[in-house]
Amino acid sequence: MRRGLGVVLLVSALGLAPRLAAAQITEVGRIAVPADVKVRFLRVSPDGRQLTAACGDRKLRVWSVPSENASALLRTLDLDGEPISALAYSSDGTWVGASTRTGTVAVFRARTGELAARFNTSGAGRAIRLDALAISPDGSRVAVAPVNAPPELWDIASAKRRAILATPFGGSNALDFSPDGTRLASADEDTTVRLYDADGALRATAEDFPLEAFALAFTPDGKHLVLGGADKRVTLLDGVTGKMVRQFPKQPDSIIWLAPLRAGQTIVSGSFKDESMDLPGATLAWTLDGSAPREVTTQQRFNGGGAVADGRLLLTTMAEGAIVVWAVR
């Protein structure tokens, strides 16, 4: 045991402690955002063809994802000035939804922008902020996360609540449906990750985490759940049982967003510093086979992002509100 400690000390003294390999990242373009508009956050469609951005003027803007550095504003969607709190595409890309700080959910057909449903989830006459949402692949259900309350499952067509999910206290930070729509996962503020069936019945829990996860996503094959959060780790769970499959090394910063690259085999994570959730930290690329994470290095820090499915590009809202397109290798 002493010998092992000596080796560790020697390695540290020589500066040989494991370091992150840097991924190559190159800015290849910017999406032309109107000068008076600031992009707050965005989501990229699963097929990588479009992105929807929540903008500071309380409108949604949909752009085609650039090819050869050309992009087009496809449409602007108006929620009558309600402040947008979260965005989500269904895993098949058919639907895109938005939630607001006043409890409204709006679901659109992603291809056309046609409004499929709009309703308010608040009860008792008081607007309840929604912190996250997820849309089932068949477009029949939406899961929402009211602030400081259990997540809820709503029927989109009837605008009726189907179920209140099973958290004992606090709210939920992130929600995602499995690609086949049979499971819903929630990363809850009580630090537990919960797996439900399509009707909202609790099927599995993962309670091994001392701190909350802020981001959670099923891998495209639905076999795994990837999560990251205040514990500064990316963790891979079994997508059915919730059992831990792999936990990656702890990093200096808390993880706030996750974006899949290369069909889900690589995950890019964004983070924030301990000093403030508004102070972006390192952006890392994680290969799910267990190799060490690679730091995605630029002079700039990302404060939100999405990625196209083929993994060539990472799109990120920058502090100044622009959308920048990066090639990651």
């Binding site: 602030v147 400081n148 004992p168 206290f169 606090g170 709210g171 503020e189 009580d190 630090t191 985490f209 001392p210 701190l211 909350e212 205040a230 500064k232 808390s254 301990d274 000093e275 403030s276 959730m277 508004d278 102070l279």
Partner: protein
């Protein structure tokens, strides 16, 4: 003339501060108020957001402040009750807050604690005045209170002396969008002697039965 409605606790605290009521050594205002209010029905303590940075497995302690810590010493006390007014000594109280620079200890357990109330349902802990976390407007202490047969209470304690309120919390408590009720903004009494001033704050925690 503007009418002022004081709760019995507020009235007691004011009376102590003005010297109308003399308190025997060793009794805290929280303990006296708890005895005074014993078994009287109580309104549920308003809920407030849980996060950020709730952390499980906090240490069992009532002393969050250690010698040398920066920041004004803070003594918080109160009672844990049901809405029927029954003391809940079987409850578990979890508290956490930032250091005086406004930073949460995410890697460790500084300024985090978990404890049981005393037999009469009273609780007290010593800490420091938290700083301002940049992503939030006001200074705060987070609470998670659980008790068998009762709905968990998630709330936060705010300080009437917070500079954000500019001395008028009645008017300005809404400057923090997370503060939905003036009730959670508590008066701060300064106690001790000039060489050892500390802030004294009370907050009762009233849980609803399931």
């Amino acid at each position: 003339m503007r009418s002022v409605r004081l709760s019995r606790r507020d009235l007691l605290e004011k009376s102590i501060a003005l010297g109308v009521v003399t308190v025997a050594a060793g009794l805290t205002p929280g303990a006296i108020a708890a005895a005074w209010d014993e078994a009287a029905p109580r309104p549920r303590t308003p809920e407030n957001a849980l996060g950020p940075f709730y952390k499980k497995h906090a240490p069992d302690t009532r002393t969050l402040r250690i010698p040398g810590d920066s920041g004004m010493p803070l003594a918080v006390s109160g009672g844990v009750f049901s809405t029927r007014g029954e003391a809940l000594p079987e409850a578990t109280v979890e508290v956490w807050h930032t250091d005086n620079r406004g930073r949460y200890d995410i890697d460790g357990y500084r300024y985090r604690a978990r404890f049981k109330p005393a037999a009469g349902g009273t609780y007290a802990f010593d800490s420091i005045m938290p700083g301002h976390y940049p992503d939030r407007v006001c200074q705060r202490v987070h609470y998670l209170v659980t008790a068998p047969g009762h709905r968990p209470l998630v709330t936060q304690l705010y300080f009437a002396t917070d500079p954000v309120f500019e001395g008028d919390p009645d008017k300005n408590f809404g400057r923090d969008p997370l503060i939905t009720t003036r009730e959670l903004v508590r008066p701060v009494m300064l106690a001790g002697d000039p060489g050892d001033v500390h802030a004294v704050v009370t907050l009762d925690l009233v849980l609803e039965r399931l």
